[in-house]
Amino acid sequence: MKRFSRHLTLKVASLFLLGALPAQGFSQTNSESLENYQRLDFELPADIDRLLIVDANQDGLADILSITETAIGLYFQTSDTGFDFTQASTSVTFQGRNVGWDLSDNYVDSDGITRFSLLALIDGNRVLQWPIVAGQFSEPIELLDGLNGFSGSGINRLRFSQDLNNDNREDLIIPNAGTLQLFIRNEDNQYQSAISVLSDIRNFTTLFIQDSLERDVGQTISIPSIELRDVNNDGRPDLISETDERFDVSLANASGDYFPQMPTYSVDRVEIRERLGNFDFDQLDFANLTGILALTHEELLQDVDGDNIDDFILREGGKVSLFAGTATGMDFSQPKQVLRSGGNVLTVFLHDEDGDGRKDLWLWRVEPVSVGDIFLWLAISGSINVEAFVYRNEGETFARRPARQLTVALKFPSAVRMLSSVIDIREQAENVREQAHIPTLVANISGIGDAQDLLVLLDQQVQVFHNSITPEPALAEDRFLASLNYSQTRDDYEIDIRRIIDEFEIELNSELRQVQGRSADQSLDLEHTLRNGDLMSAALNADELDDLFIFYERGEDSITGTLLLSKP
């Protein structure tokens, strides 16, 4: 019988660690707190959804903001006692069914003093600001009203207060149906007329089911951040908006309203698709299914000619057009260059191939694939060649002919074997699901060594392994085709998906392997039974040590746990 989740006790799970952790082998056990840490037990209201670390009273000590389904509360930190968790020092209860909230230290109170503030879009129609004054949320100030926006069902974090024009004043972004309304704030704290920009709002909704009982009903909404960067080299961030239908660029104005009411230039992706033609099964060439790539298009906004003004590259099937960017827009009257490639063009991108500091054009093609090939691949393994052609940047335009050709052979198993591998991976995933999750945390608790400490929450103990987790080196920002082991001197590459699948492994609790065989350097006994506990770190004061939340239980009546606050 399958439960929704395994209900193993952590005793069973701890068997994994027994080889690593001799029962009597701890070098230090402390029932009060960890060394250099002050222990503060807490019992928080059960309806708290999350905690945010803020310095609300701007005293240099981080405070804790609690968010529930209806209210936001603040627990202030003091230098002597830390936190008093008995009740929030101040709170705001929202009057609205749907509220999107944000925080900012960029707004002034009614006396014109800059204060840390809570901001909220109430039922999509008005924005209120609650400044923190004398340790309390003061009366709300209305920033905007008469809006027609949304922020999802219930109370949600809406990152709608952002400085869009680099003037050190945060502006407001109000989501609407498929658009974002941008309100730029002037020096006098008044707002410019709203600018509407299209947004690729992702909406996944199910309101009913037909027969399958296991499906839920509800909605997930996701709105990506807006893209702001200087595309015309005037030092002011410009606005780029991409949706399935349009590619819009709004250049910042030097005077007057920061953004124009209409985009400075646009590319109509619908019109491009109409020009290329819709997919039509009756027009499909069964001998060259990859010929369907002729219906694809892509748009790149990057500087090609080195004037620090972005130019525009439009690929339509195998035709690549380069348009010149200017300080005031984009010259779409005539392309600076048109390159045409035969074959099935997959994609293009820009990358400096020859090290001359100029971005070259990489055009990728895939060989024809027929229906017959696909039927054959059902049973036997196959290979597809993907070719890259490099057109060198000659300053103003690209070379007419490619200077280099790379071939990547993509080898893959038969569909039958692939399906079998998918089943294997799924079973591997099922096995991982059956493993008990042992809460772990990588943090700096001891200050010892260059590596991080590992904390493990197990058997009513927090066990600390000093200097045990070496952070993985960050991937190089300028890496290029890293999975191919790309070299400027090599033109033939191979990717063997069979090998990738064969070597596939899903691992849970992977940090524990790094301390296998080691004794914990410190441990803290907890007097509480852990029901669904966890560990989390935060930076609550100015020292170099992380502070530590140990959660015992998220229960019906309360959320219980302990805060270990580092002592400077």
Partner: protein
């Protein structure tokens, strides 16, 4: 501007083939659309007892709208929409219901916090839109391009007026329809088990992050990582902005509920699945009482293994809904049948288990002779390696089972099996599964309708022994390739009609006497 090109063939197509069957005549209307007709509906919008074609569409300039093509007396459809209904940006979902005295169905428009009615016969919202009631829907944000369309509404209390079962933010609401377009909230119920202590609520499976991408930095990336779930995921964080973070991410979900007949009376009941107090999956049944009410708590609850697909269907023809659970292990499938025992089930002991081997198993129950006696239809694909190497083919198997004896729901061995081979040359036949729901020749027995290897829509008769005939008795040769097709009685003559989806066109075949 949307482009319509219509080929209103309005042609009477004669069947050919076996003379043993009545000929089937159809009027064909082909509509060319500028994109794939993803969803389409047939409802009688003008009250002439003929169903009309409704296409929800979106255009960059005009936004969302319903295009309504009224069916003509000869079964054809006009070359342009007869009615256009703008879907205002606030509307999240719609439903069809006959609410007003004027002939035809009206639209029920469902927004985040309120429900309205609207007649499609009036070209404007002015003097047309009528508020019905307020309700905080579980979804608060409309989709810019799509509008959700509820399935046919249920008359819960048998008064001849449709009722509305709507998911809300906190619970479900059942609104009973009354006279003069009135609706009253008659019953609320929560599909979430509130008796569970949050600390006991299972956290679900480990989370898997899958990364499959091609980019210039990494080349080709295939990466899967696992992370255990915690009750405190993302519980503590710093407030400062991260440029990579989304502007908004909101999530609101709850277990779904559906209305079905769970017992022998004529009143629909309610069923939903959630997590029981024992942390197992739990089926909950709310039975409608004689007075048309529901109890505060489910009359029956039972644990069920939640792995696999759990589907509701009447498998034994007693007009009470049963449960079919399908579980796959590799390409081996277990299908478990649980019969309804008076609005209760024994999920520990399936009434029958059947095993199949293949890919993409499809299980359905059909009433081929339209006599209430159910047959089991099973189809799946296999890829015989030797055949594939030799002539590159895939096999689709169609199995039919009669109801069984000796306590078995269905016979353990198929009464009929048809293997169809598909190769690169016969690709068109793979586009759609064989459909057993249509009675093309109106002889009272359903036929097997399928797309032939050369792309023709064809029908074969099914014998009393469930044998599907070797040759078709009816064919329709479409002008364009069929991507898939559906069956619906569009003109209420008891004879099955068809709609055929093409790449960017639609053909509607309406039977004629």
């Amino acid at each position: 501007m949307h482009r319509f090109v219509l080929f209103s063939l309005s042609t009477l197509l004669l069947s050919y083939g076996s003379n043993a069957f009545a000929q089937a005549n159809f009027t064909a209307t082909q509509l060319s659309l500028d994109e794939w007709p993803e969803s389409l509906y047939f409802e009688d919008m003008d009250g002439d007892s003929r169903k009309d074609l409704i296409l929800p569409r979106w255009q960059q300039n005009t936004g969302r709208e319903l295009q309504i093509y009224l069916q003509q007396a000869n079964g054809s459809f006009p070359d342009r929409p007869s009615r256009l209904v703008e879907i205002k940006p606030e509307i999240i979902a719609i439903a069809f219901a006959d609410l007003r005295p004027e002939p035809g169905q009206e639209l029920i428009l469902i927004a985040a916090n309120a429900v309205f009615s609207l007649s499609s016969a009036i070209a404007s919202y002015t003097d047309n839109l009528k508020p019905l009631f307020e309700w905080d829907l579980v979804a608060a944000v409309p989709d810019r391009r799509d509008v959700h369309v509820f399935p046919a509404l249920t008359d819960f209390n048998g008064d001849g007026l449709v009722d509305l079962l709507l998911p809300g933010i906190k619970d479900y609401g059942l609104f009973l329809g009354g006279d003069d377009e009135s609706f009253s909230l008659a019953y609320r119920f929560n599909t979430v088990n509130e008796d569970l202590d949050p600390s006991e609520v299972p956290l679900g499976s480990a989370r898997f992050n899958t990364d499959l991408s091609i980019n210039e930095r990494d080349g080709i990336v295939l990466r899967v990582s696992a992370r255990g779930r915690s009750a405190f995921d993302d519980f503590v964080s710093d407030w400062t902005h991260n440029e990579q973070e989304e502007l908004l991410r909101s999530r609101q979900w709850r277990p779904s509920a559906v209305s079905r007949h769970l017992n022998a009376d004529s009143r629909p009941d309610l069923v939903f699945m959630n997590i029981g107090n024992d942390l197992y999956g739990q089926i909950n049944i709310l039975v409608q009482d004689n007075a048309g009410g529901f109890a505060a708590q489910p009359q029956w609850q039972g644990p069920i293994d939640t792995r696999g697909d759990i589907r509701l269907m009447d498998i034994n023809g007693d007009a009470q809904i049963d449960v079919v659970r399908t579980l796959d292990r590799s390409n081996e499938w277990d299908v478990q049948f649980f019969l309804n025992k008076g609005a209760s089930f024994d999920f520990q002991a399936p009434d029958q288990v059947m095993k199949f081997s293949g890919y993409d198993l499809d299980v359905s129950v059909v009433d081929i002779e339209n006599n209430g006696r159910r047959q089991l239809s099973v189809s799946y694909y296999t890829i015989p390696v030797i055949n594939a190497v030799r002539n590159a083919s895939i096999v689709r198997s169609q199995l039919l089972f009669q109801q069984g004896g000796n306590g078995q729901v269905f016979n353990s061995r198929p009464d009929f099996k048809l293997d169809q081979n598909f190769s690169a040359d016969t690709l068109r036949g793979l586009s759609s599964q064989m459909n057993l729901q249509a009675d093309v020749d109106n002889d009272g027995t359903n036929d097997a309708v399928y797309v032939t290897d050369d792309g023709t829509l064809a029908a074969k008769s099914i014998g009393a022994d469930l044998r599907i005939a070797d040759t078709p008795f009816w064919q329709y040769v479409p002008e364009r390739s069929i991507m898939n097709f559906g069956v619906e009685d569009i003109n209420a003559d008891g004879v099955s009609d068809f709609f055929l989806r093409h790449s960017s066109a639609l053909t509607v075949l309406v039977s004629q006497p």
